[in-house]
């Protein structure tokens, strides 16, 4: 037998073995999918009956395949349930050893296994899971640390906030600020007190910023004094986040300090923009005068934020914006016209402009120039004074003020 023949036989053998292996893998996968399709609905139905107290029995699961499907069915159901049904599932989940199994999974060499294990423990674990999750906060992978932090806040154990905060603050950059804040928010409204206390301690700047964001999201009225103190902090990033937070909390006590920051030239533009925007969220009309000065700012963002806030601060604010409307950019006009429209105020403004209010006529004309014409087009369809005025404004020939006709 020649060397070439032997080589051909070996190559053909290898090829055949490869094909057989591929066929075997495909058949095995198809068989597994088939089994899953058959067993999963049965598992789901039995778990549902157990959860809603129709039955006391869970399906028997002898093989690792069956145990996996049962575990998944219980997790899926627990995710959708609250109250007694959830507690019942949580208890049985632990009794079946699934929590202990997931806690062991936190030490798996595979990244995804550790993340999944943390998710399972967070969904259905209890206080006994806190120590392994705390160890997970020091995992070498950010995703695992994040998942463990989330699991800890979901379990809601006492005294974990400081560790969780430290771990989350490390992830800033790798994981978005919103996602990090969401983890802390899962601790619920009681977290505000613990976070407020942490803010009084000497914290790392990243941690302070995160705490301030979460206090704002929690609308933590009781933490206003601590957040207000952050406005004096030399860290501009912290100050900007404190402005956003105070806007969300909405305590009128914050209005004047925020207006002072918006006007002052001591802070960079993004801090002044945040302060001016927060003034509108608080809605205290006493700061109109201070905020009007920001309309003269040479920077677009603070000016636009001030205009957006002023239109929310009643008639005086609206009047101040109308007086300066010709000096504002079309983008800025379009933005706050949109705000007025969302608040259902543009129709009344056009009606008042139609009967001769000069400031509002300037505002409507500016809105048309900025391309915000939807409401004008809608009104132009009607045979009313406002309709005729809207049609004329759209055709660039605003008429003289009309006189309301008596019915």
């Amino acid at each position: 037998m020649s060397l070439l023949t032997i080589a051909l036989i070996v190559v053909s053998g290898l090829l055949a073995a490869n094909l057989m292996l591929a066929a075997f893998v495909r058949i095995a996968l198809a068989y597994r999918n088939l089994r899953e399709a058959r067993v999963r609905p049965r598992m789901r139905a039995t778990v549902a009956n157990f959860a809603v107290e129709v039955s006391d029995e869970l399906p028997s699961a002898y093989t690792s395949f069956e145990r996996r499907l049962l575990r998944e069915a219980m997790l899926e159901a627990a995710h959708e349930l609250s109250g007694g049904a959830r507690e019942r599932l949580v208890r049985r989940f632990s009794e079946r050893g699934f929590v202990a199994q997931a806690e062991r999974g936190l030490r798996s060499p595979l990244l995804l296994h550790r993340v999944r294990a943390a998710e399972i423990v967070g969904e259905l674990g209890g206080l006994s899971s806190v120590p392994p999750l705390r160890r997970g906060l020091r995992d070498r992978e950010p995703l695992v640390r994040f998942a463990c932090a989330h699991a800890l806040t979901r379990i809601g154990a006492e005294g974990i906030m400081s560790d969780v905060l430290a771990a989350l603050a490390e992830e800033e950059g790798a994981i978005s600020q919103g996602a990090l804040a969401e983890v802390l928010l899962d601790s619920g409204p009681d977290a505000a007190e613990e976070l407020q206390a942490l803010l009084l301690q000497p914290l790392d700047p990243k941690q302070r910023r995160l705490v301030v964001v979460v206090l704002g999201e929690l609308r933590a009225f009781e933490a206003v004094d601590e957040v207000l103190r952050c406005l004096d902090d030399p860290d501009d990033e912290l100050c900007a986040r404190a402005c956003h937070a105070l806007g969300k909390i909405g305590d009128p006590a914050a209005a004047e300090p925020l207006a002072a920051i918006a006007v002052s030239g001591a802070r960079p533009w993004f801090v002044r923009t945040a302060a001016a925007g927060a003034c509108g969220q608080i809605g205290d009309p006493r700061i109109v005068e201070a905020l009007v000065d920001v309309l003269d700012s040479e920077e677009w963002y603070p000016r636009n934020a001030a205009a957006g806030s002023l239109v929310k601060l009643g008639e005086d604010g609206l009047e101040a914006v109308c007086e300066r409307v010709d000096a504002l950019e079309p983008e800025s006009v379009a933005h706050f016209w949109g705000l007025l429209d969302t608040a259902n105020r543009t129709e009344a403004i056009i009606e008042r402009a139609a009967v001769g209010e000069r400031g509002l006529r300037r505002l409507v004309a500016a809105a048309r120039r900025a391309g915000s014409t939807a409401r004008l087009e809608e009104l132009a369809q009607h045979h009313t004074i406002a309709g005729r005025y809207a049609a004329a404004t759209l055709s660039h020939a605003a008429p003289e003020a009309a006189t309301p006709v008596a019915a």
């Binding site: 609905p41 789901r44 139905a45 778990v47 549902a48 009956n49 959860a51 809603v52 107290e53 129709v54 069915a73 899926e76 159901a77 995710h79 959708e80 349930l81 609250s82 109250g83 007694g84 049904a85 959830r86």
Partner: protein, 127 residues
């Protein structure tokens, strides 16, 4: 009482159906909004447990269509949604939903609400 469950999640349908079947109701299921409207017109259930976000047609649109059709106008609608926001609640009410619950949900609460909603609707139809 005949109850239609419309939810694209099989897990939620199983859980709701298990509770309602145990309460002695007849249960029918739809996997999307379009199927929910078709089943509601054909089967005329007394109560509809309706998810908000579904393929093909969302829960709000299902509400609107059922309220516009004289044959299905009287069905009691319980919205069962993921979103606990004020806007979703208000929009649900404006579209004609009678009850509003958020997920995760308590099967016991759902059971009571469905029973009371069915009774209210039956009284309204009789009176």
């Amino acid at each position: 009482m005949k109850v239609l469950i419309a939810d694209d999640s099989e897990v939620v349908r199983r859980l709701v159906a298990a509770r309602l079947l145990a309460d002695g109701h007849e249960v029918i299921e739809a996997e999307d909004g379009q199927e929910a409207v078709e089943l509601a017109v054909r089967e005329l259930p007394q109560v509809l447990v309706l998810d908000r976000q579904m393929p093909r047609m969302d829960g709000f649109e299902v509400c609107t269509r059922l309220r516009q059709d004289p044959a299905t106008r009287g069905v009691g609608i319980l919205m069962l949604t993921d979103n606990r926001g004020e806007n979703t609640l208000l929009e649900s009410m404006e579209r004609g939903a009678d009850e509003f619950m958020t997920k995760p949900f308590s099967p016991r609460e759902l059971s009571v609400r469905v029973r009371l909603l069915g009774s209210r609707r039956a009284l309204a139809a009789a009176g």
